[in-house]
Subunit: 385 residues, 2 copies
């Protein structure tokens, strides 16, 4: 019930025949107001899918009244006809809701390079429009799943439960900086002007979705849209709202990580003692992208040498002879040499922490990733996406 | 017989007890002159192994008279005592050969973070010194193998066979730009002053070793050293010598690629129509580092969408709506949309070509990589390195 928990929102999700499996494949989330403020962030990939090309224009004025999302086809690299399909879907939603198509965000996910069936999509939009309800959040969250094994939802209450934020997300691979095949819809009944929503979303995404680096690959379709209905009549301070929105985004990011394709371990990489936060992120990301280190974690090998080898490829400020590394809080590397025995590290549990102390400054940052497993290779070699 | 093919060189390789397996683990290549010109390139990783820290100093004056290489231990992140071990090995070689330690390059490869047994190494140096011969090239090439399944050697003749270049290499993983756990010794009996050798080596490495990106990981120990004995008495033009040296480096790079850990496919990625060669390399490297694309190749899936998604992460100049991609010469993507059927692509053979046409400029470049396989994950999770 996540995105329909805040007042002023209805949603629906159903199987309309886009997926050949008969699973749910189309979702619609509608803001009924009284306010229609919104903010969005998109993939930074320059090769963008048609829905992103459309939605980037649709969100320009800060008003979004509905988000329509389909799984079963990404509508990416499908040429001008694919863009027409996206546009027609937005128009159909607009007509049914009595709003302008330009206030409709469109999201698609699934295989890229194959055209979606326009007629199936348009008929599906009519079907789910008839199913919109204040209880439709679960169905909507299920309808955007692709290789996800569970739906991802969250609700965070404001002070005194005077307002709330609800969110849903899909994505189980291609997670990378600046987003990934990750579709996220967030709703709130707080009163938040579009400019404030934008500031809050960028602040929240910077320390949540942007710190997730499952496999270094960057999707073509990523979209995060937040809509504020104002239905609670309460206007929170920007700080309080930003904190709650950050909690929502962090929860969804961690749910995405937990369901990443084929992962055996969730790895939390914290870099301490950096000159700047950006450098701490750069160091963490370099380790998150080391196939060698990620394969070692899969093999339950506390291989701190592969951590140092990754850190050494960055431009961060540090003394290469004076680095400390802990794995699961065992300081296996001290001053760039052997520390406590790596045999003390138990890598059987799913959660793994890596702590890197650059011993240079006061900044720190955390990046999340997964291990590199046989199941990852299987899932990404046996199935197209 | 590669490194001992050119006149003026002797070599040896033997099992001296560094590896517990009893396999060959120590090699020595000696330039007997009359000239002792040399050039070297090293890993650009900032966390360098002790042998690299030593050898970077040893090569400064352009004179190298011997290279000693051990497998079975990388002497990396082993602290000040590890550096003393490297220095003592150089001194021992120098004493035995009657030359200065500062003219001895030291290379090590194997597990990082564990100290090498200094006494075993020093005794081993004495052993192989007694085995130096003009027929020792094969033994030396075998003694530097770690997870390599075959030794890598090459000989290229100059015009009229007046001089030659021989080379040996090891490395089967961690191959990445700016070198990788790759140890290479190249010898020539041509007369080539150190400054010319340096120019020739940098030109050759730029289009060979630096274009190899097996798994994006960058080693701590990479070293390439070329030594010129002048024993042929022939001074080739710099252009002719550079071309021959490039042939040597390209052959060794391709041998490394062919033996990369767990690979099922060798992927040659050529980027056409780029504004600059650097941008062509950036585009090729982005695809070479896409785990999703590499897993697709393993699964024999001609997934051009994953190619475009990688290209879109680069800063190269192109129109995202106007890209062409061929896989094994089938143009599966035209103008960023579907082209010929991907079913026409046969990915059963080991060799795979990917051609990306940015349709923007006249520059092009080729980058080589491997697919991402179950065997890669197995080799890098089940064994430490």
């Amino acid at each position: 019930m996540s995105v329909t928990h805040p007042a002023g929102f209805v949603a629906a999700g159903a199987a309309v025949g886009i997926k050949s499996t008969g699973k749910k494949d189309l979702a619609l989330v509608v803001n009924q107001g009284p306010t229609f403020d919104s903010a969005s962030v998109f993939t930074s990939n320059r090769c963008k899918a048609n829905p992103v090309l459309w939605s980037e224009q649709a969100v320009q004025d800060g008003t979004v009244r509905a988000v329509v999302l389909n799984s079963g086809g990404a509508n990416c690299y499908t040429g001008p006809e694919g863009f027409v399909t996206t546009h027609r879907v937005a128009e159909e939603v607009g007509t049914l809701l009595g709003i302008g198509a330009i206030d409709v965000v469109v999201c698609s996910t699934g295989l890229i390079g194959l055209a979606n069936d326009r007629d199936v999509l348009l008929a599906g939009v009519n079907t789910i429009h008839g199913q919109l309800s204040a209880e439709g959040g679960n169905d909507a969250a299920e309808a955007i799943m692709t290789t996800d094994t569970v739906s991802k939802q969250v609700v965070v209450q404001g002070p005194d439960a005077a307002w709330s934020i609800g969110g849903m997300a899909k994505g189980a691979g291609m997670l990378a900086p600046a987003l990934a095949t990750m579709l996220v819809v967030i709703t709130t009944d707080a009163v938040v002007p579009a400019a404030d929503l934008d500031a809050a979303l960028r602040a929240a995404a910077r320390v949540s979705f942007d710190r997730l680096d499952s496999d270094g690959c960057q999707s073509t379709n990523d979209t995060v849209t937040v809509m504020a209905s104002g239905a609670s009549g309460v206007t929170p301070s920007l700080d309080v709202f930003t904190a709650a929105l950050t909690e929502v985004c962090t929860s969804l990011a961690k749910q995405l990580l937990a369901d990443a394709e084929g992962a055996d371990h969730e790895i939390t990489i914290t870099t301490l003692g950096a000159a700047t936060e950006d450098e701490a992120v750069e160091v963490g990301r370099s380790v998150a992208r080391s196939n060698l280190f990620k394969a070692a974690v899969f093999g339950k090998d506390a291989n701190w040498g592969r951590v140092l080898a990754s850190v050494g490829t960055t431009t961060a400020a540090f003394d290469p002879a004076n680095l400390d590394v802990a794995i699961n809080d065992v300081w296996v590397c001290r001053n760039s040499g052997p520390g406590e025995s790596r045999d003390l590290v138990d890598l059987a549990p799913r959660a793994v922490t890596v702590t890197i102390d650059l011993k240079f400054g006061d900044a720190e940052a955390t990046v999340w990733t997964n291990d590199l497993t046989h199941a990852y290779v299987h899932e990404n070699s046996a199935y197209s996406s």
